[in-house]
């Protein structure tokens, strides 16, 4: 028995190699195509079918190529797009796609990386086509969702049949003005804000002045009211005897108008000194 041992081990090893080479597993989230001498023979667990599991093949002759069955993300770096209004935008996007026809995919792309590369080219041109026909306003705000759908449809017409994939979704991540324009935008934003600030300040000044002017108007009115009332009161009182009122008021005026030390030159024959003269004369 010890003599046969190396032989037995050798046979067992060979059997193991053959066995491993004739068995393969297609996982739930994978799909596979089987090639015999490079020629397509079968697809396993394609989208639309649910047949994952353990499979056998002819060892060494059959070649199995496994692809992902899941939703795969392809990130497109920002590229410059010129919309119909000539305002250049930097647009980047994420394309979500999955392989739907592994046979076609193998023929046109061979590997997943190769497929991504080709899909990238397709997407770039689809974006140019769709976004180039739109205005920058529509891209930035108005019809973003529609445009994304249009790119998706465009891709599903062109790339899908060519590559054997289906584009699940195209999402524009950013659609921005290029960095060179950013400073301009900031400048405009600043000036807009300054305009608003200036307007608010001016409005404040205006309101303040209106308030003050209204107050002054009211003040003048009140003062006038007082003065008018005063005039009426005096007119009523003095009107009873105009002559006496003039005399009385004059007396009061003398009293208040002439203050201390005012030099007053009086002739001796003034009314005040009437009796003085009479005595002398």
């Amino acid at each position: 028995m010890p003599r046969n041992l190396p032989l037995i081990l050798g046979i067992a090893f060979a059997a193991l190699v053959v066995l491993l080479n004739s068995v393969f597993v297609v996982r739930q989230d994978r799909q596979a195509i089987v090639l015999r001498f490079g020629a397509y023979t079968a697809s396993i667990n394609e989208p639309g079918s649910n047949e994952p599991g353990l499979y056998f093949k002819v060892p060494f002759f059959d070649n199995v190529i496994i692809y992902d069955k899941r939703n795969i993300g392809l990130i497109l770096e920002g590229q410059s797009i010129v919309p119909s209004d000539q305002e250049r935008l930097i647009v980047d996007a994420v394309v979500r796609w999955r392989i739907t026809d592994p046979r076609r995919f193998y023929q046109s792309a061979l590997t997943e990386d190769g497929g991504e590369e080709r899909l990238k080219v397709f997407t770039e041109s689809a974006m140019r086509r769709v976004l180039g026909a739109a205005t920058s306003d529509q891209i930035i705000s108005g019809r973003r969702a529609e445009l994304m759908q249009a790119i998706e449809d465009d891709l599903n017409r062109s790339a899908a049949t060519e590559l054997g994939v289906r584009v699940v979704d195209v999402r524009i991540r950013q659609a921005d003005l290029p960095v060179e324009n950013q400073e301009r935008v900031y400048e405009r934003m600043r000036s807009e804000r300054q305009q608003v600030a200036g307007r608010i300040r001016a409005e404040g000044q205006r309101d303040a002045q209106i308030i003050l002017a209204t107050a002054r108007q009211e003040s003048e009115r009140l003062r006038g009211e007082g003065e008018g009332e005063r005039a009426r009161i005096f007119a009523t009182a003095y009107g009873r005897d105009a002559e006496f009122a003039a005399f009385y008021r004059s007396m009061r005026a003398y009293d208040t108008a002439l203050d201390a030390d005012t030099p007053i030159v009086v002739p001796p024959d003034s009314d005040f000194f009437r009796y003085m003269q009479r005595r002398r004369g």
């Binding site: 939703n71 973003r144 979704d169 404040g204 002054r216 009182a237 009293d255």
Partner: protein
């Protein structure tokens, strides 16, 4: 304790580093009788002796191992095989924590989803299990990188264009968990971000936020519409995530920062200042208004009352005057003149003399500065 003091305590001697069992190079030759247990080296040595593998060079050959190097081989291989087999079976045991689910696949085919607890599955190539935390809240922060307390802006992500062609700086967080672990595992290749590769959730979040921001104007975004933005992003995200069947549930979108970019923040703050300035101007005007109006009212009331008083005074005097006109008139005249002349600087001058007399007016007036500002 001296450096080379190895004498203290059999085996329990502490090196100069105060460390436990690791004795550095100052170690004395190993005592002939091995310390019992504990030391890994010794354990391996004992193992070798028992199975008689690896020659056991230098090691003590006393005892059982003895001189039968080949004889034990037949007996030890099955044992090793058994251990390996057991170890292989052990790979089928896995634990699922509270809040986690495990997806088990048999030969690549989805088989079952199991909840918390310790579970057994077929060992490795036949069945595979993937344990995923489903209820735990996962977070994705976009627009910034947080290192501890400091938050660094990430302009590439945070600056977005608004519907009115302004640029706004947005920092936000997505909180999510997993509502369908099967979908999560099998439907999307890259649901969550790994290293520098943004995952589907992050991609969708960014895209949704930019779409929402692009549809709105700057002013409301940074002031009143923050809640609406959060809600819109959450709905849009969930819609897309469901479309992809990612099995991800968005719990919350939290807008941390929605503000003008730092390059223009000053101008934006100045608008706030302007509002304050305007308010201040109006308040000042209102304050002055109160002063002006009250003064005017006071003036009116004062003037009217004074006039009324004066009129009453006149009326009273006039009543007396009518009773005795001439007497009253003379009396009033004389009394007034008396007061006036008393105060004033009276000079009686007879002009009939013809010659104009010299009056030292200067001297007379000069007296006034002694009473500053007159005698009013």
């Amino acid at each position: 304790m001296p450096w080379n003091d190895q004498s203290s305590g059999g085996g329990g001697g502490q090196g100069p580093w105060g460390g436990g069992p690791r004795r550095p190079w100052g170690q004395p030759p190993r005592p002939p009788q091995r310390p019992q247990g504990g030391d890994l080296e010794d354990w391996i040595r004992q193992l070798r002796e028992r199975f008689n593998l690896g020659g056991g060079g230098g090691g003590g050959t006393g005892g059982s191992g003895g001189g039968r190097p080949g004889g034990r081989r037949g007996l030890s291989w099955p044992l090793i095989g058994g251990i390996v087999f057991f170890g292989w079976l052990i790979t089928g045991v896995y634990a699922v924590d509270e809040g986690e689910r495990a997806v088990v696949s048999r030969l690549g085919v989805y088989n079952r989803t199991v909840g918390p607890g310790v579970h057994v599955r077929m060992p490795n190539p036949f069945e595979a299990s993937q344990v995923i935390n489903v209820t735990g809240q996962r977070v994705e922060g976009i627009g910034f990188t947080a290192r501890g307390e400091t938050v660094a802006d990430n302009p590439e992500e945070s600056l977005m264009i608004t519907g009115d062609r302004n640029i706004v700086e947005i920092h936000f967080r997505i909180y999510y968990n997993i509502k369908d672990v099967g979908d999560f595992v099998y439907n999307v290749r890259d649901p969550i971000s790994r290293d520098d590769q943004p995952g589907a959730v992050r991609q969708i979040a960014e895209s949704a936020m930019r779409e929402v921001i692009g549809g709105r104007e700057l002013e409301p975004i940074i002031t009143t519409d923050r809640g609406a933005v959060e809600l819109a992003v959450e709905q849009l995200m969930q819609q897309v995530l469901d479309e992809y069947e990612t099995g991800v549930q968005v719990l919350q979108v939290e807008l941390l920062r929605a503000a003008a970019p730092s390059a223009v923040i000053e101008a934006f703050n100045d608008v706030v200042n302007a509002r304050q300035d305007a308010e201040t101007a109006i308040n000042n005007a209102n304050r002055e208004t109160a002063t002006i109006l009250n003064e005017a009212q006071a003036y009116r009331e004062r003037v009217v009352r004074e006039a009324t008083g004066e009129a009453q005074r006149f009326n009273a005097v006039h009543a007396e005057y009518r009773a005795a006109p001439q007497v009253t008139r003379d009396r009033l005249y004389l009394e007034t003149m008396e007061r006036v002349y008393q105060r004033g600087n009276l000079i009686i001058l007879d002009q009939r003399g013809g010659a104009v007399p010299y009056l030292p007016l200067d001297g007379m007036i000069r007296r006034t500065p002694a009473q500053p500002e007159g005698a009013r």
